[in-house]
Amino acid sequence: MRKFIVTAFSALLAFSASAIAQPKEVLLGALLPLTGPAAPIGIEEQQGVQFAIDQINARGGINGVPVKILFDDSQGKPDQAVLAFNRMIDLNGVPALLTAFSSISLAIAPLATRREVLVVNPAAQTDKLENASPFLVNTIPLVRQEASVLAKYAIEHVGKKAAIIYENAAAGIDGSTDFRKYFQEAGGEIIAEEPVEFGQTNYRSTLLKIAAAKPDFVYIAITQSHEAMADQVGQIPDFPTGIGNTFSRPFFGHASTEGWYQTAIQSGYPDEATVAAFKKQFNAEDMGFFAREYFNSTNIILKAAKKVIADGGDITGPALRDAVLAIRTFESPVADVTFESNTASRPVEILQYKGKERVIVETARSAD
């Protein structure tokens, strides 16, 4: 009888141990701006995440364990994000979530530390994210790293006298501060600097003032109304060459921006079949930048989860984070992501607008 109890007990123990090693499902979260001014981006991000989850489940999950994703809306506001974060962690016990937006990521970073939840940021670039939380992993280089690549290229190939136009908001201020620092360190000179307001569409006086300073080129860090600026540049004779960052894509395709440069974080497309499947599933014209990045970042979390399960651990925030940092290098057609720290190091391209094409003139690796 006693022997029986011991056997039964150890069987029970073994059973519960295996239950821990092989969870019934892996639950992940995504806290995105699904409403508000940033909603169009948030929805594209949502599709990227959903697509990655659907793909892995179609292949039978992670070693047979299905994956479930929970979406919640941050409205792009920090206090709403805190509410939504608590909703996810309390009601559903999510061990890891994807986020978007600098202010949102900064607002939930201390909560992530306190509650030991892995937060993956695939899109926000403000420099403060670097040390915001040991549980925050950035899969995109921050503004600083992009600006250092750009400053180096500009001084070697474009000119030593620069002007800066920046948007008086997070991304623009970071961009201008970092560019100034690296450009001056490399021996360049900033001869004029002008902010524009977020939401402004009349840039004429700013552009006139910058053109009058006659710099070799202008570094432009704005995140919206590029088209209006390009139109107004066209009205000013001999406006200097513009140089932009990842956000500057809308400058491309205007007569007035011929010969301009921009940096772009290298972000490739998955294979054709995958892209076609994405377009079909979401009835989309393209698998955009944000969809690709969120798709790739979700796969990074899934890869980490796979390692945790294979090692027989629990799917928890700390386990997932340690797995990401232990795997270190994630290669995919979208990007080669390497983690020396919490922030990924990735190739950055410098593109020039030539007629109907954006030509890659240089590729460098972002570094600290």
């Binding site: 699904l34 929805i43 409205q75 920090p78 608590n86 900064l106 008086n168 997070a170 201020i173």
Partner: protein, 286 residues
């Protein structure tokens, strides 16, 4: 549980801010769309002091004093003028405050905001968990609400009522109208300071967008829906309006238009209340 508590905490913080708005708009009839800016001043004051190592109670006190002073200053034009031109200075105050939060980068961290604001601690007891913080906010709300109730009951409250109804008569009757108004503006500022300080330490991150004109308009909406001049109104309004987005999340609307639909809803509520129930749910006529 944390989710419910975080809702409770935010609603209580906004109740304190709504009481501040109530004192100005409802009680002495000074229109303000700048209360979020005052709350922001409190938040930044408390945050900066706490990040510099000042204990929470002192930082809270500093926020209260700063906001009381600033609220008196920003209400000055209306203290001199009983006309609706103050509307424009009120909008102006809000815009100037937002510009200062964004542009005074060395102090406020600019548009990227301040992060890593420490957890509130009183005499060695830390309010780290949601339960503890909810307790703190509830106690503070009770103190603020009691002071509001006492103020309304006092002879002072009756004078304020008289001023709002007929300022010239109150002056003619020899009442110290200016002093009464300045006093109320100071108390209102103090409430906003409390709300701001609690907001900063709870969210632990603040940026200029957290205190922009939309938040000010939201505060006015909360007041109008809840009802002006009563204690209950300023508590019902915030709880109700913060619950709306949570409820709208359950309705099936395409997510691209959820934001505008929610805002639209707020606008319709404002118009409807003004047309059919200007006294709000539990208030008196504006």
């Amino acid at each position: 549980m944390n989710y419910f508590l975080s809702f409770l905490i935010l609603a209580e913080i906004f109740s304190i801010a709504a009481l501040s708005t109530n004192l100005l708009i409802g009680v002495i009839g000074i229109f303000s769309v700048a209360q979020a800016a005052i709350m922001g001043v409190g938040a930044y004051t408390a945050a900066l002091l706490m990040m510099a190592g000042v204990p929470f109670p002192l930082a809270l006190l500093a926020a209260v004093l700063t906001c009381a002073a600033i609220n008196v200053l920003s209400s000055l034009p209306s203290l001199r003028l009983a006309g609706d031109y103050f509307i424009i200075t009120s909008f102006g105050t809000q815009l100037v405050a937002t510009a200062v939060f964004i542009n005074w980068q060395d102090l406020t961290g600019g548009a990227t905001g301040l992060m890593g604001i420490p957890i509130a601690e009183i005499a060695g007891y830390s309010f780290a968990s949601s339960q503890q913080f909810a307790l703190l906010v509830t106690v503070i709300l009770i103190i603020v609400a009691t002071s509001f109730w006492l103020l309304m009951r006092s002879p002072h409250g009756k004078l304020l009522h008289a001023i709002r109804l007929n300022e010239i008569a109150a002056v003619a009757a020899g009442r110290k109208v200016l002093r009464a108004k300045v006093g109320v503006a100071a108390v209102s500022g103090a409430y906003a300071g409390v709300a701001g300080a609690l907001y900063a330490t709870y969210i632990s991150f603040i940026d200029p967008v957290s205190f922009d004109i939309h938040v000010s308009v939201l505060l006015v909406t909360m007041l109008v829906v809840g009802g002006a001049r009563t204690l209950a109104g300023s508590i019902i309004g915030p709880f109700l309006l913060l619950a709306i987005p949570q409820l709208l999340a359950l309705v099936d609307i395409p997510s691209t238009v959820v934001g505008p639909v929610r805002q639209l809803f707020y606008g319709v509520i404002l118009i409807a209340f003004m047309l059919w129930r200007p006294q709000g749910i539990a208030g008196r006529k504006l």
